[in-house]
């Protein structure tokens, strides 16, 4: 009996060792590549210069440093060199374009700059709507704007989500399918109503395209919201 018992015990234990390895779960995380002008310039003082910043985000939303082609729609009003440095030459308005040609794709983004008495940044808030992409409740509106020296993410009073998820985190990201490379704002501790987050000093208002709600321990996307402006 002992021999048979040992034999079956061996089988039982072998099953454990053969089946309990860490595997791979694949995430569909491909997004459309894009060029994004992150500078928030609105007006430029006559006779001054300003460095326009633009970034190329690849097919997983990660920034890749590649040279862009810079053009001005009215180079007699605002000139631009190939580093994105612009100079206000005369009164008027110009559309500055950052362009990147990749194989069969032409990616570009534009910003309209007016030559004025002083240099100003846009004070417009970026806004969006939070929507659930799972069966967990998640809804609300959000905005991102400068408040004094701080960049503040405001979630409005229509916001609601569930407290049933462990480790629900909020991110700013350029890939709504993954939290990889995203800016982790923090763990969600408010489940309804208005609240806000003050973002780190080095975050720009145009750095990210999406707000992402993600269950971190289980790598599960719960919902997101795209900036609409």
């Amino acid at each position: 009996m002992i021999n048979k018992s040992s034999y079956f015990s061996f089988i039982v234990l072998t099953i454990s060792f053969l089946t309990s390895c860490i595997g791979d779960d694949f995430v569909f995380d491909e997004v459309e590549p894009m060029v994004v002008i992150t500078s928030n310039l609105q007006t430029l003082a006559l006779g001054t210069t300003f460095q326009i910043e633009a970034k190329y985000l690849d097919n997983v939303g990660a920034e890749q440093v590649l040279p862009k082609n810079w053009t001005s729609s009215a180079s007699d009003i605002i000139s631009v060199d190939q580093s994105g440095l612009i100079t206000a030459l005369n009164a008027g308005q110009s559309v500055i374009t950052a362009e990147l040609i990749l194989d069969d794709m032409i990616l570009e983004d534009q910003i309209t700059v007016t030559v004025a008495e002083e240099t100003t940044q846009s004070s417009n808030a970026r806004t969006g709507v939070i929507e659930s992409t799972s069966s967990y409740r998640l809804e609300g509106n959000f905005s991102l704007e400068k408040v004094g020296e701080n960049l503040v993410l405001d979630i409005d009073e229509t916001y609601q989500t569930t407290s049933a998820l462990p480790g629900l985190y909020i991110y700013l990201t350029n890939n709504r399918n993954s939290n990889s490379g995203a800016l982790e704002i923090g763990e969600v501790t408010v489940f309804s109503g208005a609240h806000s987050y003050t973002l780190p000093d080095d975050v720009g208002i145009n750095d990210y395209q999406y707000l992402l709600y993600y269950c971190k321990p289980f790598s599960v996307k719960v919902g997101d919201g795209q900036f609409e402006n």
Partner: protein
């Protein structure tokens, strides 16, 4: 309570039927013992959400090797222990399908699991057409409730629970076949802020091949009393299964090689649920009657 508790629920779910199978309403005779070495496992990439729908998750797995033993202290009083002496919990890597890059590295922990010690008392004597017993179980939190680099892996729930259970079973003949049916109801008092649970279920078995082969079916239900103070999200990686509820259906085959030795294999799955993995669990084991 952590995600592991989803799994722990399954473990408990599979333990209770094991108890029933070995005894149900029937205690062990004095100085007789039943010992079972088992491997139990589940792995799932989806779960029932808080509204009872199924959502995906990164694959989670737990593999538990355990010893379960019953011993007849008297003809009416049986002592039992469930000791998961090796429990492994893991979470898979998440990998970009675009770049092949590992986005979130998987993790695994190994260790002891939570251990149950219980006493069962036979209320009715031998020869009674219906065997009724009462049990009290103590869940000893020997497992790890905050394991792994993100503390999202567990081999135990970290709470000391006490469960009282009433079993009623009856054996009968189904034509030329031996059969039995057993029902149980239990109240699981949980500590550390977890909600208590009401558990109930039925089990039926029929024997063939000269009573060497038993075919067993189980239907169990767990209802949360939702009276815990933790809520569902007290820590970053926990409480996934506090207030978990489910209905499970299980099947098991048990083959006795001789009067002393046998082996078994079973599968159990949640038919519906809330805050619990949506995948079957499996078990294989070898048992001896001493």
């Amino acid at each position: 309570m952590k995600i592991q508790n989803i799994l722990t629920v399954f473990i408990i779910m599979s333990i209770l039927p094991m108890t029933v199978m070995a005894g149900g309403g029937w205690p062990q005779p004095k100085d007789k013992a039943y010992v079972k070495l088992s491997e139990w496992w589940t792995s799932s990439d989806q779960h029932y959400t808080d509204v009872g729908l199924i959502d995906p998750n990164v694959t989670l797995g737990i593999y538990t090797t355990s010893i379960y033993a019953e011993y007849g202290i008297t003809n009416r009083l049986t002592g039992t222990i469930y000791f998961p002496f090796f429990s492994r919990a893991l979470i898979n890597n998440t990998v970009s399908s675009t770049t092949g890059e590992v986005l979130n590295a998987g993790d695994a922990i190994n260790g002891l699991g939570d251990t149950d010690i219980s006493l069962k008392y036979g209320i009715t004597g031998s020869g009674s057409p219906i065997a009724i017993s009462a049990s009290v179980l103590f869940g000893i939190p020997l497992g790890n409730d905050l394991g792994g680099k993100d503390q999202n892996l567990q081999t135990g729930d970290g709470e000391f629970n006490q469960l009282i259970q009433l079993d009623a079973g009856s054996g009968f003949n189904l034509g030329s076949l031996s059969a039995y049916v057993n029902a149980h109801i239990a109240y699981n008092n949980r500590t550390s802020g977890f909600s208590d649970e009401l558990r109930y279920g039925v089990e039926a078995g029929v024997a063939t091949l000269d009573s060497k082969l038993w075919l067993i079916g189980r239907l169990n239900r767990v209802d949360s009393r939702k009276n815990g103070t933790l809520g569902n999200n007290s820590t970053g990686t926990s409480i996934f299964s506090n207030n978990a509820e489910f209905t499970s259906l299980g099947a098991e085959v048990s083959y006795k090689i001789n009067d002393k030795l046998g082996f078994s294999a079973g599968i159990t799955g949640a038919m519906n649920g809330r805050i619990i993995l949506a995948a079957p669990s499996y078990t294989v084991g070898v048992f001896v009657n001493i």
